[in-house]
Every structure is written in C-alpha cells, then in structure tokens.
C-alpha cells in the first residue's frame, strides 16, 4: 500500500493545518473545537489516504492577518502542508487565501464570513464552506421581512464585518419595500449596550438587527431583555452562534431569530456526530466546527477520487463530487469555491420548551442553497467572469 502513495502524494503524507484562533475572542467558536473536529475526520477516514498517513497540525493566528499569512506561507513552503482549514477571522482568511492562491494549495474557510473569499481573492484552491455574510443577511433578513418586519434599526459593530452585514440587510429590507430607521455603531468588545438599546427603542423600529457577534451580541441581547425591548420589538441576530445562545441563556434569548447552517439537534446523523464530539471536547459543536469535519472529509475523499494530492486534480475532484453527510444534503462546490447547501432559520426556544442542556433551537424555515448564497452571475471571481486574474 505504501508504494501506492509513491509519487502521488507529495511528501508521502497529507498534512492538514488548522489555522485558527486558539486564544482570542473566537477561540470558543473555533479554536480547540475546530482542531478536534478535523482530527476526528482524519481518524474517521482511517488515518491514511492512498496509503499515505494523514497528519493534522494547528497554529494560532492570533486574529492577525499578517501572522496568519506568514504562518500559512511557512506551512506551505517548509512544512509541506497540503490544506489549511477553519480560518476563523475574515482578515486572516483573506490574507491566507491570497497566499494559497500564490502557492497553489488548498484552503477551506469555515470560521469567517467575508464573501471576498469567493470573489476578489477567489482561486481554484479556496473553498468557502460553512456560511458567509450573504447567507446570513439573506437568511435572517429575508425571512423577517417576509414575516412583515419592515422597519429596522441596526446595532452594528464598528468593523468591516458589521458594516458590511448591515449594508446587505439594508438592501434586502429596502428591496422588500421596508425601511431602515437608524443605526448605532458600537466598538468591538463594548461593555455597555444600554445606550444603544435606548436609541433602538426610541427609533420605534419593529425589528432590531444585531450586526455583531460573539460577546458583543450576547451583551446586546441581554441589555435588550433588561430594558424590556422584546415586549414591543423583535430582535434579529445576524450572526449568532450556538455558543452565544448558551452564554445568554434561554431566559433572555428566547424568541430570537437567527440563521445557522447547521444545528446539532437537527437530525439523527447530526446528533450522532455531536455526541461523539461532545465526548472529546465537552461542549456541543457549532456550525463551523461541524463544517470543519465535513469539509476535511470532503477534501480527503477528493484526494482518493483524484488518486493524487496534486492541488489542481484535487480541486477538480472537490468541485465535481457532491457532499452528502450529516452537515449537508446534496451540497456541491461551485466554480467560485462556494459550497452550496441549505441554510436554516431558527428560533430560540423558551426555557420551558428546551428539553435539556444545549437544546436551544427550533427550526423556522429552510433557505434553499440557491437563495442562501449569492448567485453566481453576481460573482466577481475571475474564474466565473473569465477576466484575466
């Protein structure tokens, strides 16, 4: 078997690097959980592919684009890493995407939302797998607007991520004939949201769109509950993680609408994975961690299918093979690197509805892949437009 790999697997080993936030604000969303998910995939795949061992290494990008890019380049140049997974933090993901394009190596983005991955810095080697900003905006935005929520107020983190998200949802709202009554920008890691809540309240908007994530979203939602906003207005969280719901607690979070690609309790298969994951990590996986597993599997299968780990051959294989596992049903990777799969709108359960720890969400609707992600004809990716790179 080992001879099989000769010449077909570079360096006789398939090395997967998980480049993630191990110590910063995203370390609970990705971090060790992401690494563990990729490891599980490697093990479940059997530990070898085409006879070559699969090795998983990881590093901390410290949420710095330059650190991430340098690490990626070093991994590609001297460590012989074949694929980099996770890439939470958009700045880091974009920078690594550029490096990967140069180096002709694969990256799979699960942690970041920036749609530049499949547009400006797209390449045959970059796949955006779990979710992106467009899907968040259109998932929650459209569903809420359809439900009649036509006047909005935004609470936005004063970062490119937040402002971009706000712009997209604004578009959705205005397209549907709705109106944005105002917005307030808060700094990253703000400690107090009460002032913004009062502004939101004063705006009289039906919907308060929270265009921030993590600790900030948690704080904002808590403040909303404290000031009784939820009695007359509805909160729509544009990127809320399962971990965030866990933090907020169902008391304050109940009734919230949010879009996620996956939820551990959505079906039997998902539960099976989640329980194995829980054993190892001690918390339930979120959509990005599940996608870490699923995408790694897909990458390994593609190597097997291509019979080599040559990046171009693998790229082709990954784009030609459908994805059917606990994460996605009939998923596929588009030309521009977007992995197409359904997204889901969820509502946070009330404490009474919850059947136990980590049982937080109930499905509201399914957003078909074609609606969830930006149509290919709007893509600025050179692979799609045919423009010279």
């Amino acid at each position: 078997q080992a001879q099989d790999a000769q010449g077909r697997i570079s360096g006789d080993v398939v090395r997967i690097g998980v480049l993630t936030d191990m110590s910063g604000i995203y370390s609970d969303l990705a971090g060790e959980g992401a690494v563990e998910a990729v490891r599980m995939a490697a093990e479940d795949f059997g530990g070898t592919v085409l006879g070559a061992p699969i090795e998983v290494i990881f590093a901390d990008h410290l949420n710095q684009a330059d650190t991430a890019a340098a690490k990626a380049r070093e991994w590609f140049d001297v460590e012989g890493v074949d694929m980099i997974n996770d890439l939470s933090n958009s700045g880091a993901a974009l920078a690594v995407a550029a490096v990967a394009k140069d180096a002709r190596r694969h990256i799979i983005v699960n942690g970041a939302s920036n749609i530049g991955i499949t547009n400006d810095v797209c390449s045959p080697y970059a796949i955006h797998y779990a979710y992106d900003a467009y899907s968040l905006a259109h998932g929650t935005g459209e569903a809420v607007v359809e439900d009649g929520g036509l006047t909005w107020f935004f609470l936005t983190v004063d970062f490119a991520f937040g402002i971009g998200l706000e712009e997209q949802v604004t578009q959705v709202v205005e397209n549907a004939g709705g109106e944005v009554l105002g917005s307030a920008r808060h700094p990253l890691s703000a400690s107090d949201f009460s002032s913004y809540m009062l502004q939101a309240q004063a705006s009289g908007a039906e919907i308060i769109g929270i265009a921030s994530t993590g600790g900030d979203a948690v704080n904002a939602i808590n403040a909303a509950a404290e000031f009784g906003l939820t009695e007359n207005q509805t909160l729509a969280a544009l990127l809320l993680w399962l971990n965030d719901v866990h933090s907020i607690g169902l008391d304050a979070a109940q009734g919230l609408l949010l879009t996620n690609a996956w939820y551990w309790n959505m079906d039997e298969e998902a539960r099976a994975f989640a329980e194995r994951y829980y054993e190892r990590v001690g918390s339930m996986p979120n959509m990005s961690q599940a996608a870490n597993y699923s995408s790694t599997m897909h990458y390994l299968r593609a190597i097997e299918q291509a019979g080599t780990d040559d990046p171009d051959a693998v790229s082709e294989a990954m784009r030609s093979m459908p994805i059917n596992d606990f994460f996605a049903e009939n998923g596929y990777v588009r030309e521009d690197g977007r992995m197409m799969h359904d997204m889901y709108l969820w509502r946070v359960k009330s404490p009474e509805e919850s059947e136990g720890a980590w049982d937080y969400l109930e499905p509201v609707s399914t957003i078909a892949a074609e609606d969830a992600f930006r149509p290919l004809d709007q893509s600025t990716c050179y692979l799609v437009t045919g423009a010279a790179d």
């Binding site: 107090d192 009460s194 002032s195 009062l198 948690v218 704080n219 808590n222 933090s247 607690g249």
Partner: protein
Amino acid sequence: MIEIFGVPLVALTGQIMLGIVNGAFYAVLSLGLAIIFGIVKVVNFAHGAFFMMGAFIAFLLLENLGIGYWGAIFLAPLIVGAFGIVIERLFLRRIYGLDPIYGLLLTFGMVLVIEGGFRVAYGSSGQIYTTPGALRGAADLGFMFMPIYRLFVIAAAVAICVLVWFAIERTSMGAKLRAATERPQLTQAFGIDVPLLMTLTYGGGVALAALAGVLAAPIQSVSPSMGSELVIIVFAIVVIGGLGSVSGAAITGLLLGVVEGLTKVFYSEASTIIVFLIMALVLLVRPAGLFGREEG
C-alpha cells in the same frame, strides 16, 4: 417636543441617566486607581483585571458554592483584595522607590497572566450572571423605564465614593498615607508601619476594583477580557481628574460617563475615543488635570 440636534429632550435625559450609570463604574474604578497611584505610587495597569476577577469570582461563587449576589458583594472584594495583598507582598514591594514606570510594566505583565489564566481556565466567551431577585424589574422615571438594578448601581457607587473619600481626606489616615508615599524611609523612622500601610492600601484599591466588578456582573457578560479595554479608559479618566486626586477621580468618572453616553447618541463611532480626546485637551490646557494640584 423639544429637540436638541434632532434628538428629543426626553430621550436625551434617558441617555444622561445611562451615562451616570456608566459613570458610576468609572467613578469606583478610578477611585481605586487614584488611591493606589497616589499612595503606593504604582500605576496599576491590572486594575481592569481585578475588576474582571471581582465579576468572575461572583460568578464562580454562585456556580460552585451557590453563594448569591449579596454574599458575593462582600466576599468577592475580600477575596480579590486578599489576592492583591499577596501580589503586593510578593511583587510590588520589590519595586518601591524605583521609577513608577516599573510599576506600570509589572502590572501590565500581571494583566497578561491573570487574563490569560482565566481564558485558559474558563474560555473566552462570556458567562451570564443573573440580576439578584430583589433588584429585578424596571422603574418608571417618567421619561424612561430604568432597570432598578442600574439605579442600585448609582446609589451604591455614590455611597462607596463618599465613604472612601471621607476615610482618605478627612482622617489623619490620609496624611499618613501621603507621607508614606513621599518619603517611605523617613516616615517609617517616625514609627509608622509603612509596609503595612502600603499593603493595605493596595489591597483596598484592588478590592474597590473587584467591588465594581461585582456591580457590573449582572449587566455585562462576565468574560476574561471584560476589563482590558476598560482599564485604559479609566486611566485616562484618572489623568483627566488629576493623578492622585481622589475626589477628583470619582467626580471625573461620573462626568465622563455622561459625556461618553451623549457621544453614543450623537456620533456613536467616536464614543471610544472621546475620553482620550478630552484627556489630551485637558492635559495641554491644565497640565495637572481638572482637580490636580499644580506640581513644582
């Protein structure tokens, strides 16, 4: 309806109330910082970390021992204050008499260790601490519904500031503390137990930070980094008030809470820098700070 720059007066009044709540935290924190700087001559960069510890310990007391808010509000400052005393005995003591910059650097290192430690142990995402039952709900102030807990914070902060100010400025304790700061050797040679004084002062200042942390726990999510940005704002506040001026620090804290709150209404993007802007201006116009004594 009366409007100011397009914002109704009623809404503005509400925002000012919220500013006062924030100012209350600033006041208690800057009070502790000013005391520590004024007396121990240490620029306590770890103040934010102790604030966080206060909140975290309240949370852990509830999680692990079932000790609720009213227990925590006494216990957590005690525990953190004791921790501060240990730090003072082990570390700070060795840098007295050196340039105050070393104190800044030492405590900067402590921040990394303390926050890093909590992050490793409890992760980086926030924990929720529920508001104590007696203080839940909101009060109708006419112009707004104000959560009762926030009103409690204002009252508690004002009480704390007045008590501390009294202890330091109106008792002979204050003179002793200042003397010990200025000429520790001589003061000790007069028969005052300076080392003990320093230890207790640092412990007290740290306990104040922790107390602010407990007050904050129900309205902020409790996370290892909750104090890290806060500390430099509180620093700026103390500098604006005049380093070493205890009452100045508290008053400035309240004031800037309000200013910051109003900034959030008119130009929310600038709310993070308004304090620094004011600080730069104040220092250039009134170098010793608003309440500081001109030195030299």
